[in-house]
Subunit: 329 residues, 2 copies
Amino acid sequence: MSNRIDITLGIDIGGTNTVFGFVDRNGNCIAESSIPTNSYEAAENLFARLSIEIVNLYKQIEGKYNFIGIGIGAPNANYYKGTVEMPPNLSWGYVNVLEIIQKYFDVPSAITNDANAAAIGEMKFGAAKGMKDFIVITLGTGLGSGIVCNGELVYGADGFAGEIGHTIYDPNGRQCGCGRKGCLETYSSASGIRRTVYELLCDSNEESELRKISFADLTAKAISEAALKGDKIALQAFDFTGKVLGIKLADAVAHTSPEAIILFGGLAASGKLIFEPTQKYMEEYMLNIFKNKVKLIPSALTNGNTAVLGASALIWNEIDKQTEFTASK
Amino acid sequence: MSNRIDITLGIDIGGTNTVFGFVDRNGNCIAESSIPTNSYEAAENLFARLSIEIVNLYKQIEGKYNFIGIGIGAPNANYYKGTVEMPPNLSWGYVNVLEIIQKYFDVPSAITNDANAAAIGEMKFGAAKGMKDFIVITLGTGLGSGIVCNGELVYGADGFAGEIGHTIYDPNGRQCGCGRKGCLETYSSASGIRRTVYELLCDSNEESELRKISFADLTAKAISEAALKGDKIALQAFDFTGKVLGIKLADAVAHTSPEAIILFGGLAASGKLIFEPTQKYMEEYMLNIFKNKVKLIPSALTNGNTAVLGASALIWNEIDKQTEFTASK
């Protein structure tokens, strides 16, 4: 046993696919696979299918490794309770995921949402190594966030902290999926920038290749490609997306004063198209004492699927805390 | 020595007066006094005068007590560096306060701003006893805040975290002392509600006793008294003040998901005039998963000067952390 290398399993449950992989203590993904989530299914069915695939994957690498924990990233996950509660894209209702997973695997496990998992991933393996105070912003269809203060992820009193995507930019603004109006994620996300393009196409007479694409077909990638070709509507859309994000990140800085803010996920892949306006407006709207201190940087989770690395980091973090606790006694 | 009761000194440096007192481990203030700050003086002069008064006060109680630490609350204080940096109401510039105080007293000392000290005070002695996640909002001339996550005060990467008063309500809004526009404290503070009254007096033809008071003479207390007599302008001013505060506290909840938010200071003394609209709008503008979870409560630092208790709690907290650390080794 003692010559074997410890590994944990990271599982990321998405609306379409569930990706999983074995990751070592240094953040190297040893083996990875995925299955369809089948969002209409009960959670029990997913985990029954998943457990078979996990065992199959582990058999391929077993001889050299020692499987010591499971970390899970899932929508609306509650770290304290081990539950997933009314996830928007899954027909699960209220499910205790950790209870289910323990039926199949007798190792420590932990669960949180994907943005929190990403934050722990960056802290353990990525761009936030050695940092004690930082924020990860995931720019996907929505906007997720994970906040780390004093070296610890902030779960808050109820386990749901870190919902910067649902801070309000404009109380009379765009309708949000959460039922309110003007949330940050209705502006600064892959779906938000699409709405902004349509607003700009409506308000201006500027020529744009984006006029040929329907709302349903328009993607952040198409907007990014148009911007790189100099399309003014696309460039304005990135500027406005970065402005709203910058203003609300200036607020976030006033709360927890992070050393860095890490942009993660689909829209962050647009690189300087999104980083430059975000940085510019964040500095412009930031309180003086914080100006020119906060780094705005991309994710550095590059040695495998980022969500799997994040989920794995969650349980590595728990294992390390336990080790420190035992060592200090 | 062993029969003596341990006490710490809490010092609150304000623009007008510097208040100080000896406080026991249970948050009882044993003896308290104050001297004028003389804001035009150098910091060294204040501490020279202060040290004499501290010694005099200690002499009155010395026999029974054991003086073991000093906690200081001061504007623009940096916990990490022990400094006060360019305080708005004092002509100090950049001063290392802990270095100065160590010349007079050979005991452990710590410094932070008054809102952070208030937060630690509430955690040790007041309304947040036993809580691990909460926020204290001080509603004075400005709006200060102290944020506690995972049982630790959030100082952030640079020691200046917790500036919720300088989150932006309206990027095109009221001019703030910080040089930007539309900061929360230009709306929700003793000076903010005064501005709101004047806006309402301008916009409406409503009769109001407040029409007889000049802007310079108008106080939050006068607005509160008028509201209690049913003055509609005063009541509308409290409603709007609570609305802006409620919207921005809903944002704060989305960041750190506190168990409670504690309102502290002058304007909080207006009781339900400010608590009711703040609670109402906070719930209205809050993300669903947080609704009806967050308590909005008054300070419970009542056994002495609240600022002195907060400053004292700061050093008690350090002493307790040190004790825990030693015990765990």
